[in-house]
């Protein structure tokens, strides 16, 4: 006998049954019945954000730091839904499992341009993995459970459930989640064994191999990271990773080459360019990784493991495409490797490592230190040194600071690094940090920010203070939208059109105005003490770190260039001459 209840009660019950502990949201007219149901229970804790975009990013941070948890959001119709669109798109591009429940005007008013009405399923169709408009109370329980299944299974992503207000008031029979297979959506998780065997054979015969890993390894769960480490140990091959995959392989390991791509290390990019076998695991060959595509790793055989069949052969043609979940495929690979114990070409591998060590010796992350001004790289090196032995989680905004964070903060474990990779959403870091801190109340959660990005979702400081979430906002303040300025230097003759951060607030006073603590530092000698003050302050902190204003983020593969045409930090010449006319047209 199933229980009778209202639609609003069903929503809350389904969240409980799906194991949701925290819900990020903002109330409004079209979701009042659900908020009333939330008020009358205490299993699902609601976190009131200050802007709906913040709610989705917070849910993303929550999901990413929680290894397999689905983030959950509740917003109202109209502007509530449209404000969530950036977060949804961000979650789609970074494959983050999020369920967003939106209120809708009552069924009979849909299409009448009612107050706070918008075509939510129409608007979000292309920025969600799937979405639903609930038209009958009888469909609601199934849709609620299905949404969690779709968000978390296969390639994860955001799912929207749009619930008209009359459905929230209507009464129907609730049903609990079932283990039944979904009637259509059943992604393949086990890889094709014949292809895996062929891949192991190719790997065993490699002379200049490289593992190129991505966010798919993180999404596949901690077990996938453990298997990647095991496979790397068994083979002795070098490992690099995309921005999204940092932490899956420990940065302290000798086989680690650092991040690859546009701001990746010299050794990682040259290993990609010169390898003879590339093993791509949960990475999608995006343009920030490949650089000039017709010169991308020209002499390699490529193996690609991905759960999304549409990722295989999308940007780069591969020789062996294995569709499956990273952990499942890696498990088979490790097992077959152990069973067959193939003989790797030790002398070729030794020569390959010698070459890689030569590239490493180029020290592509070196920078000129200063005793008078804080170099942003130095600030992050110190931040890393002072936080690495703690239970630390890092989020970022988007821009130079994000790339420096990826270069100078070294991650040893998965799910410790939350950044907006695909969409590149400025304003991601603070709400994401709030989500992470909600999941890990005792951890040290730091949002590495720029002074421009942080202002995009600054209002969430209020959320942090309300819920006593001691997030630390570490602003590398160079008074520029640094990456825009860098591109203007490289591409537009140093004409810094609108990229100067004018009329900045006093971040120390701003922190205090919100009820947090503010710290300012512009002296390299005082930096360590200031960072320690930040770490030891019990509540939320805004750290305004004044850094060198016109520092460029190097190394860099300029637009339209190949992996072996990087700009290194010791480049001396006219930076405005590096990129040709065709390259200037790219983004």
């Amino acid at each position: 006998m199933s229980e009778m209840m209202t639609g609003a009660e069903m929503v809350v019950r389904a969240l409980q049954d799906q194991g949701v502990e925290h819900l990020f949201g903002y109330p409004g007219g079209a979701v009042l019945p659900i908020y009333d149901a939330i008020f009358q229970q205490d299993k699902v804790k609601h976190v009131l954000v200050r802007h709906e975009q913040g709610a989705v990013h917070a849910a993303e941070g929550y999901a990413r730091s929680g290894a397999g948890k689905v983030g959950c959001v509740l917003v109202t119709s109209g502007p509530g839904a449209t404000n969530a669109v950036t977060g949804l798109t961000d979650a789609l591009l970074d494959s983050i499992p999020v369920v967003v429940i939106t209120g809708q005007v009552p069924t009979h008013l849909i299409g009448s341009d009612a107050f706070q009405e918008c075509d939510t399923v129409g608007i979000t169709r292309s920025c969600t993995k799937h979405n639903y408009l609930v038209k009958s109370i009888h469909d609601l329980p199934r849709i609620l459970h299905e949404a969690f299944y779709v968000a978390a299974n296969g390639r994860p992503g955001p799912v929207v459930i749009d619930i008209p207000k009359d459905i929230q008031f209507a009464t129907g029979a609730y049903s609990r989640p079932r283990d039944n297979q979904h009637k259509t959506y059943r992604p393949v998780v086990k890889g094709d064994l014949n292809k895996i065997k062929a891949a192991v054979e190719l790997i065993a015969g490699a002379k200049r191999p490289v593992f190129y890993t991505g966010g798919g390894v993180i999404n596949s769960g901690p077990h996938a990271s453990a298997l990647l480490r095991e496979l790397a140990r068994l083979t002795g091959f070098p490992v690099t990773s995309t921005l999204m995959g940092l932490g899956a392989f420990p940065a302290a390991d000798k086989q680690w080459l650092g991040m690859l791509g546009m701001h990746g290390t010299y050794e990682a990019n040259l290993a990609m360019h010169d390898c003879d076998v590339m093993i791509a695991i949960g990475a999608r060959f995006d343009d920030r990784i490949t650089g000039r595509i017709d010169a991308f790793s020209p002499r390699s055989k490529k193996i690609h493991i991905d759960i999304d069949p549409s990722s295989i052969n999308k940007n780069v043609k591969v020789d062996i495409g294995i569709i499956g979940d990273c952990a499942h495929v890696l498990e088979d690979m490790v097992r077959i490797w152990r069973e067959t114990s193939p003989q790797v070409d030790k002398s070729a591998l030794a020569a390959w490592w010698t070459q890689i060590e030569g590239w490493r010796g180029r020290r592509s992350l070196a920078y000129k230190h200063s005793d008078t001004i804080i170099k942003p790289q130095y600030a992050l090196e110190r931040l890393h040194a002072l936080t690495k032995d703690r239970n630390t989680y890092i989020t970022t905004e988007v821009g130079q600071h994000q790339m420096w964070a990826a270069q100078y903060l070294h991650f040893q474990e998965p799910n410790r690094w939350m950044t907006s990779g695909g969409l590149g959403t400025m304003g991601y870091g603070l709400p994401a940090a709030i989500g992470v801190q909600m999941k890990h109340p005792d951890a040290l959660v730091i949002d590495v920010a720029g002074e421009a990005s942080i202002l995009m979702n600054m209002q969430e400081m209020s959320t942090a203070v309300q819920y006593r979430l001691p997030v630390k906002i570490f602003i590398l303040n160079n008074e520029y939208m640094g990456m825009v300025r860098q591109w203007q230097e490289l591409l537009h003759g140093g004409r810094y059109s609108e990229s100067y951060s004018q009329s900045l607030p006093d971040f120390v006073k701003l922190a205090e105005a919100y009820g947090g603590h503010g710290i300012r530092c512009d002296d390299p000698a005082k930096l360590d003490a200031a960072i320690m003050e930040m770490i030891e302050t019990p509540g939320p902190v805004i750290f305004d770190c004044h850094v060198a204003k016109e520092e460029n983020c190097f190394p860099m593969i300029p637009s339209g260039k190949a992996h072996n045409e990087m700009i290194l930090p010791d480049f001396e010449g006219d930076t405005g001459e590096i990129i040709d006319a065709k390259g200037k047209q790219l983004v």
Binding site: R125, K183, D287, R292, I293, D308, I312, G560, L586
Partner: protein, 180 residues
């Protein structure tokens, strides 16, 4: 450096493109057509013809027949993207399976008098078109056939007073005993 640099995939102009007919079985739920049409427009693929109708009423299943063109790589991408949509049950490339049967239906209005009208009637019967409506100055013909046949008919009838065309788009099915 020889060629102009770009870090985007080369435009696939050097590769041959081919026309493919895909049959897609979907749940007949609101928005499913928008989802499929949006996939094509959002990713820059072509739709040459699109035909949709519910084919199994009890199961609420619709069959969508899409005719598209692209390089082999693009066609593979289209199929992979269609297949990962939640309400999609199956995607079958009828072109890849072999010579599929493809038919469409056209309604054609011809307006004219005297010798032109007689000629229109003669041509239509040569094509095997049926007369659905006739007035003293017009005919409405129905013709079912392969796309090329319909095209030929329309081109021919243009000379004898064609004023309006309505076409269903392509319905397709594989030959032989196998069903999808």
């Amino acid at each position: 450096m020889s060629k102009p640099a770009t870090h985007y995939p080369n435009a696939p102009k050097s590769q041959p493109t081919a026309r493919h007919t895909l049959a897609v079985i979907v749940d007949n739920e609101p928005g499913v057509l928008a989802r499929i049409a949006g996939l094509f427009s959002g990713r820059g693929y072509n739709i040459e013809s699109l035909t949709v109708s519910e084919t199994e009423h009890e199961k609420h299943l619709s069959r969508i027949t899409v005719v598209t063109s692209g390089t082999a790589n693009v066609i593979d991408q289209i199929k992979a993207h269609l297949d990962r949509l939640v309400p999609v049950h199956r995607v079958v490339d009828l072109t890849e399976q072999g010579e599929a049967i493809e038919r469409e239906l056209a309604l054609i209005k011809v307006v004219g008098k005297g010798e032109q009208r007689v000629e229109a009637m003669r041509l239509a019967s040569a094509f095997g078109a049926r007369v659905l409506d006739a007035s003293l100055t017009s005919f409405v013909f129905e013709l079912t056939g392969a796309t090329e046949e319909i095209e030929r008919f329309i081109k021919t009838m243009t000379a004898v007073g064609l004023t309006e065309v309505s076409r269903t788009g392509i319905a397709a099915m594989s030959r032989g005993p196998e069903s999808m």
